[in-house]
Assembly symmetry: C2
Homo-oligomer: 414 residues x 2
Amino acid sequence: MNAEIIAIGSEMLTPFRQDTNSLYLTEKLNLLGVEVIFKTIVGDSLAHLTQAASLALSRADIAIFMGGLGPTEDDLTREAVAEALGLELRRDPEVVAWLEQRFAARGWKMAANNLKQADVITGGVVLPNANGSAPGQWISGKYEGREKIVILLPGPPHELKALFEEHCVERLRAKIPLQFIATRELKITGIGESHCDARVAPIYKRFTDVQTTILAGAGEIQLHLRSRAGSLDTAQKRVDELVEKIEEELGDLVFSDNGDSMEQIVGYYLQMRNATLAVAESCTGGLIGQRITSVSGSSRYFVGGAIVYSDQLKTALAGVSAELIKKHGAVSGETAAALAEGIRKRCATTFGLGVTGVAGPTGGTAEKPVGLVFHALASETGTEVVERRFAGDRKRIRWFASQQALDMVRRRLL
Amino acid sequence: MNAEIIAIGSEMLTPFRQDTNSLYLTEKLNLLGVEVIFKTIVGDSLAHLTQAASLALSRADIAIFMGGLGPTEDDLTREAVAEALGLELRRDPEVVAWLEQRFAARGWKMAANNLKQADVITGGVVLPNANGSAPGQWISGKYEGREKIVILLPGPPHELKALFEEHCVERLRAKIPLQFIATRELKITGIGESHCDARVAPIYKRFTDVQTTILAGAGEIQLHLRSRAGSLDTAQKRVDELVEKIEEELGDLVFSDNGDSMEQIVGYYLQMRNATLAVAESCTGGLIGQRITSVSGSSRYFVGGAIVYSDQLKTALAGVSAELIKKHGAVSGETAAALAEGIRKRCATTFGLGVTGVAGPTGGTAEKPVGLVFHALASETGTEVVERRFAGDRKRIRWFASQQALDMVRRRLL
């Protein structure tokens, strides 16, 4: 079975806002064995919306409409879908009562236009919305001789997700031939996309029953694997086999085989070894600390550190001697090493990370160009320094530098 | 005139990837006076793509196709659009020569399938791609009796943007009745969306010739204003008048009236006053430093500071006495103030920022719940402490805390 997702709202036809609900819905639909074949974004126009609805009904088994269920005159999804289906809207007294109660409970007076939200397409099932005043609707039946499922969902993401989870997943499962689907997500760093694909394509192409999507992000590559089979066991086994073969080929370039982020993985490893970490960040300006502490519970292995944007602070907070900076420059392997060692000592941790570089777009020289970054990891056994030259803008260079630094910790703990 | 944007690629029908090019294109089209009425996302299927192309031609004046211009068998945009237009593809010898030269210059052998990229729709103009091997195409003429413009663009964002800028903007301008459009973007913090809208809606509703979009982001509200008139002067004047009236109503809740970010604004103000800043971050873990240093040139006013995730570091790096922490707790106004004062002293800056709180989801207590954050700003004239209780998840709480902290610096410098 296949689906079309229709996102409704004129704000999604501006340069400022984008539909993101469809990513969530696509994931849920894929796990039920449903492929998404079209996504349409349409504004709050009855004519456009009715046209989009007719079209979706004509070309997909399942049509899911998101948004346009509010009480204002711009909220036209109910009307448009009813029109496309050739069905009537009728005001549902139970929904009216529920709306009145909802308003009364908050001590608000319900405006007359809210009654619109009680209009239900003939034969439709009302899907209660636990987080808002716009209920969803489920309509299933024949359209032009073919079995169709039509779902109306509210636009706000938290309302949509809760409602879909609670009222749609099981209903869909009952309508869809039983399938078993297993997924895995591998994350890879330290290799470019084309080299990575050249190495893994020959492997995943042999697994014709596993759908593989390769995506390049900032400083990492993601491999999304999905297998469908007659039993969950078989599906899982096929995905796992492919994961194993890819890991054999790529070795420790694979940092995660369950979708965890680099900062989560580094956290696991540090905790497992009872180790602690401190950072001294120059060009990343706090990004590494921010990433590590984005993980709840990171205080078990991360103590903090210093943002040493000025040379004075490299000395004052991380104990790097002013002579060393003068001799080698703030952007140098020597300074990176001294930052890592200094912050480790100052914070009394197992590991110290030091990062210094030229994030650009200004400040580069022939000798020390934009993108040049030195990363150092200090521990009891010594200090490792890695020099990298990253391409791209300031944001990208800083992100890559943070990824490289975290990956050094991971590799040390492998 | 209106436009439909069609994004092509099966990866955009997965849960992992999304069209973002259309935001850029919508901005450019809006500035030419063109409204986007539909966006369609379609996979690499000739039937689906041809259907989407026919539909776009039937309902929009301008149809812009993004992606599917590569050399592989999945790249079907040329074929589908030609089919929908009822036109032929012919191999363009000049493009063939250009492709051969491009490959030869890199010392690569050109595979036969690359010749596909030289197939041009009859009557189409080739749009050279400076950044890749897939040229764009421009077709304009009658379709079913109405004047239409069809544009084929490569999918990779940097290729698309450069090509559209260089080869499409002027061509479109020549086809579109001359219009003058002025835009402004206001950013507002310290007030919720509904309260903000209640205060500004009565104002912007009087400006019926200025299109106003209100968007709530994390810790800020954006007001996008766009005016269209017979002269640029008139358009600009109307937008400026509305900006003035909104600023009168909201006062210093407006932190930017040209789209600049909070970290940019804080940077301007610090530089203007020849002031410097240092931070001591506990629950934000480096986020404030990361935001400040995301602005190029921030070393002129930002020296760095400390990430004081553990209590020991609050003492060691920011000079907060262990007794004070013991007495009031790490999450307290007293600790925030001591962090701000300590880091200011340690770093010898004009201002010191201290932030400590419970980012959650764990670690909250009845007395100090998740979301409670203390922010302190220290200067020569004293220390200001602000206590806030933010709702939401860890990421949102940390972002709001960083926004509040930066806004304290802005307000002090107003």
